[in-house]
Symmetry: C4
Subunit: 210 residues, 4 copies
Amino acid sequence: MDGKRAEAFSDGVFAVAITLLALELKVPGGEGPLAHRLLEIWPAYLAYVVSFLSIGIMWLNHHTLFNHIVRVDRLLLVLNLLLLMFVAAVPFLTEVVGDELGEHMRGGDATTIMVAYGLLMIAMSICFSAIWWYAGHRRGMLDARLETETVRRSIPRFGLGFVAYVVTTLIGFVSPLAALILFGLTALYYAFEHLPAARELDADAGPGAG
Amino acid sequence: MDGKRAEAFSDGVFAVAITLLALELKVPGGEGPLAHRLLEIWPAYLAYVVSFLSIGIMWLNHHTLFNHIVRVDRLLLVLNLLLLMFVAAVPFLTEVVGDELGEHMRGGDATTIMVAYGLLMIAMSICFSAIWWYAGHRRGMLDARLETETVRRSIPRFGLGFVAYVVTTLIGFVSPLAALILFGLTALYYAFEHLPAARELDADAGPGAG
Amino acid sequence: MDGKRAEAFSDGVFAVAITLLALELKVPGGEGPLAHRLLEIWPAYLAYVVSFLSIGIMWLNHHTLFNHIVRVDRLLLVLNLLLLMFVAAVPFLTEVVGDELGEHMRGGDATTIMVAYGLLMIAMSICFSAIWWYAGHRRGMLDARLETETVRRSIPRFGLGFVAYVVTTLIGFVSPLAALILFGLTALYYAFEHLPAARELDADAGPGAG
Amino acid sequence: MDGKRAEAFSDGVFAVAITLLALELKVPGGEGPLAHRLLEIWPAYLAYVVSFLSIGIMWLNHHTLFNHIVRVDRLLLVLNLLLLMFVAAVPFLTEVVGDELGEHMRGGDATTIMVAYGLLMIAMSICFSAIWWYAGHRRGMLDARLETETVRRSIPRFGLGFVAYVVTTLIGFVSPLAALILFGLTALYYAFEHLPAARELDADAGPGAG
């Protein structure tokens, strides 16, 4: 069984989850002018942008990862399903992040939700690393052009992402808003600083390669 | 007409249904601290996980099954549509399972919903077996590498899944929580103990095959 | 530009629309036992089944149609978009059908919604025929193996489907329930009695063709 | 990394966003006859049609654009993600457009929402142009058959679309209804008056090319 259909199914879940994020946006009712009510929920827009980038870039890296996987087994598919289970839960927590951060701006406490959101990011990061680690340790799962050494060296870099998420989650105790922005920046960072193995293969292919 | 597009369409329905599961998660309002309200709905999370695994692994096996189907006819497509009709209904019942199980933990009765949920699982299992049985009995539908004998021997194994769902549904009368957990474990079991025919073909292909 | 990507996009819309149907199912609140409340909304389940079959079989025939289309132009894509616009609206009206038919069983009037539902079906049928007619009249759009005569002869058959929808809509004035069931049966009929051109090509390919 | 999977993922987001539009349609409750309540929300239907056409034709042009892109890099993927972020937000604003335009017909003010809607269209138009501009200025990203001159000449035409959206947004200050209809007409215009480069390649391929 090759990974192409698992990837197509995962792409579907990523695409649906990322689009459902906007379903959670709701203009508050009330008597004020619409412009005010539209702007009032800016924390919900911020949460939308951060979660959109997080899922989008998680998809990007998922896609890169599966490009290197030439064969899948059932355990890998179950690990992948676990990752998707957390991805699909992002819209649910994103809505609460928007609501609670709005409350926080009016004096409430948004620590709880930022910790919950951070734990969800950490859970995704663990699943992602587990897939990469597992694929790297089973014979014949990864593209033969990848050197075992390259794969092993890349594991700590995943650990770095894990540490970034943990630190950001802790920052949520001090400033939930700063934590949310940091989650967004972490996503952007991972858009460009991706799997070294992937970069090596890309470099091999050279500029202009289709 | 080959089965590739039917499979792509089915994948779409599976991916949307599995992602919609999270839409049913709703943090209860009220005055309590958010941490308490987030944890209070643990039965909804459990129902989410069990339904996610059930749909996910149903997808996995659906995918394996369609890998063996080289030609489809209209009746098979209608049977497949029937299966998808039940799959798409899983988020609807999952929400009620979460709600009612929450009530059950506070002394209510969750038997009705577990029976309804069990019947839905049984309906999916019947449709799935019907597709396999029908494909196995029409000339030219299954991959020629599959021996008729192998296919026929695999039918009772589907029956076993059917029996597991019926027994779990009956357990729902005694303990709805135990039944829900058992549905999750059954899904996990089917992640690894899948179509024997599929395993045979996989074995033929040998380790390392792309 | 070939039709493959238009088909993939359409498949996506069909798959999302068909799965969203279940989102409209809502167990009524209230004091009664859950079993009663679950069964009480049987008209909503019936509407779900009929709309699921209608969209599903519309997809089947859409897929068959696009199998014969080897080249698309912008007008055809806009016609296809129009068809999808009506398909995506089916969940919206299906929810109202379920509600109103439930009211009807308690003495209310469900004529309006059945007429609206019928008009939606008629609109889909018109768009579908328009795509087929347009593709058949532009040089190089249809598979060269299709004889012009075959295509032209198939147009009246589409007209038949149109008449069936109009008659069923009119029956909605007498019995909304009968009309809903007839819409379901019409869908099933079209699952098996499909494009004659398609059947001819299938016959050419012969049994066992991949 | 080629653009095929980025395109498939984008197609998924487009398909989900376009289908979610209908989820925002809600028949108002109340005592009046259903026919009246169904017709009363005609501004919501109009907003549905305009947004459906806008997303649908944005997809069409996105598809044409990616047909010319033979290689993608991370920055292009992030630009594409930004475009999708605005596309996914269309259903959210479309619902408000329908509501506010309904209020407007009863004497309220719909300027705010039409400006917000216009800004969203402008944001999509900017992202779209940015992708095209960036792809045209990086060596090896576009199909070699495209002349650099052709690409550069096409940039102003994108600027034209941008101007059309700005003007329409300004018209929203005078007549929100006229602005909404103009957004729909602009979408239809772009269905037929598309990328000149694309037309040139199509012309090269000649009539009847598969």
